[in-house]
């Protein structure tokens, strides 16, 4: 298609219209300032983190943030739910663990191969199940995650069964990644990269297409958006990101159990994306931070963690249905006027 076929008689350009149009584009500041702030904060954080425990807390937040951002592309932007994403995370984690432990592969090649295999699997599954809508899709993805968990639990000769298995350190370019302080910059870098890439994506024609198909699938198709292809590609993208994060997390933790792929973990990921804010990248970052910290914060309430966790979920969805970050952003904007 070429612009040449635009009948020039339709619509007229005027400086006012052009100015009004350009004013709607997100400005440099709005788009990049928060990212720059995030990068600076992450760079300075080691100055104030007192010990390995705190590094660990932050690393867990960072890893979850990347996962939540990728999942939010699917749920928040594309409007497709997945209740089985921890399955892909688990496959990545165990892929790396098994290939490096039992088959002496190098960590980077194990990570790559796991990611590619998960990508293929996700693609196959997506072609079939993304035809499903709403609850049927929820059921299918949920089932997928549970199947993965059960396989990981039962194939004990490879996976160590329910007790889990240990994973060696990651070596890359002769560098040995070991300990919280070494892993911290890796995860911090990944978060910044994820925020930048996802930010670009959602503002691109592809991102617009995703949001459009969420709003009205038939309208999107009529303007030429291949909705099936977009859903599939985003599903694969988020699955591959989950697999890569799974591999890295496995090496970082040094020990994994089938719980990494559990329904509970899947729900946790969805919750981060949704509570933080659907279709909001910063919401995902915030959601990841909140839900990663919550168990620690609630540890004082002996026994009541689950209850409070549940109450927070329900209350957020009722009182801030778009999620915390978008709802607050709206409030602030209204205050500002």
């Amino acid at each position: 298609m070429s612009e040449a076929s635009i009948p020039t008689t339709i619509g007229r350009s005027s400086p006012e219209t052009t100015a009004a149009a350009l004013a709607t584009a997100p400005g440099f500041r709005a788009r990049h300032l928060p990212t720059i702030v995030l990068a600076i904060v992450l760079a300075l954080l080691p100055l104030v983190l007192p010990n390995a425990y705190y590094y660990d807390v932050v690393i867990r937040i960072l890893a979850n943030a990347v996962l939540a951002i990728a999942l939010n592309l699917l749920i928040g932007y594309c409007g497709q739910i997945s209740l089985g994403h921890a399955g892909f995370f688990g496959l990545g984690a165990y892929g790396s663990a098994i290939l490096t432990t039992h088959y002496d592969w190098t960590a980077p090649s194990a990570l790559l191969v796991s990611a590619v295999v998960v990508g293929l699997l996700a693609w196959l599954v997506a072609r079939v199940i993304l035809r499903l809508k709403g609850h049927y899709l929820a059921m299918a993805t949920l089932g997928l995650g549970i199947i993965v968990t059960i396989v990981l639990t039962n194939e004990a000769s490879l996976t160590g069964g329910p007790d889990g298995m240990s994973v060696g350190d990651m070596r890359i370019f002769g560098l040995r990644l070991y300990g919280e302080k070494v892993w911290y910059p890796v995860f911090a870098g990944l978060v910044v990269v994820a925020v930048v890439l996802a930010g670009n994506l959602v503002e691109s024609p592809a991102g617009r297409a995703l949001r459009a198909l969420h709003g009205s699938e038939v309208a999107a198709r009529v303007v030429g958006i291949d909705t099936a292809s977009f859903k599939t590609r985003v599903f694969v993208l988020s699955a591959v990101v989950a697999a890569i994060m799974g591999s890295l997390t496995a090496h970082y933790l040094g020990f994994i159990t089938p719980q990494v792929a559990s329904f509970h973990k899947s729900v946790e990921l969805v919750t981060m994306a949704v509570v933080g804010g659907m279709a909001s990248i910063w919401g995902s970052v915030f959601g990841a931070a909140l839900l990663s910290l919550l168990p620690d914060l609630l540890a004082h309430f002996e026994g009541f963690e689950t209850v409070i966790f549940g109450v927070i979920l329900v209350a957020t969805m009722i009182f801030l249905p778009r999620g915390i970050v978008p709802s607050l952003a709206r409030l602030l904007r209204r205050e500002g006027r």
Partner: protein
Amino acid sequence: MLRVENLTKAFGGVTAVSGVSFEVTKGTIHAVIGPNGAGKTTLFNLITGVYTPSSGSIVFEGSEIGGVAPERLAKRGISRTFQNLQVSMNLSAIDNVMTGAHLGLNSGLLAGMIGLPDLGGRERATRIRAAELMEFVGCGAYVAAEARSMPYGALKRLEIARALMANPRILFLDEPAAGLNHTETHEIEDLIAALGKTGITVVLVEHDMKLVMNVSDRIVVLDYGKKLAEGTPAEIRVDPDVVAAYLGAESEGV
């Protein structure tokens, strides 16, 4: 440019469109009219690929398009609006219009992530063009608005702008004036007439007879899924079958 032959669509027991044939000449404005439930929207859905015909054929510029998916038809220059609004309320107004340019832009995920489509000012040009079209269809006041905060009438125009953004060769408008007041209906009439002058082929479904009679070159009348009559506005106005069908519908209070 478009030839529909013996087109039929049945939903279970209901035959919504039954053996309809007609032809649309390039560069003309064609209207499809008929009482509620006559099958007009279904006809549009068949031609634009939303539904697959039960039988019959649809030939567009020499090739059969019956059952071809809407996204493939978009590439061939078929565009449309909807009777019940299909606007993405989670997008801004201008983003909705910009989606119309989807096929002309690089929509790869990886390309999008590294910011490729922005290069060379394509996005910028698309945005400006979208604002121009919004102005053209008469919702220029909403360039900076969120779709969900727009009134109904403006959203109907927004759909037209989005459809135009795709540079269609043929444009289907399903009840563009439905729910609009007198003045707005007039403006839509002028808009359709203006579109016709630019050489775009327009096919429209509309209940407002004054509008239809004023802008159309040819009219097809459907009743209970069947073609009741076809002709110029002058011919349709005096067609006894049409008059009977409409009077009948009115006396039933439909």
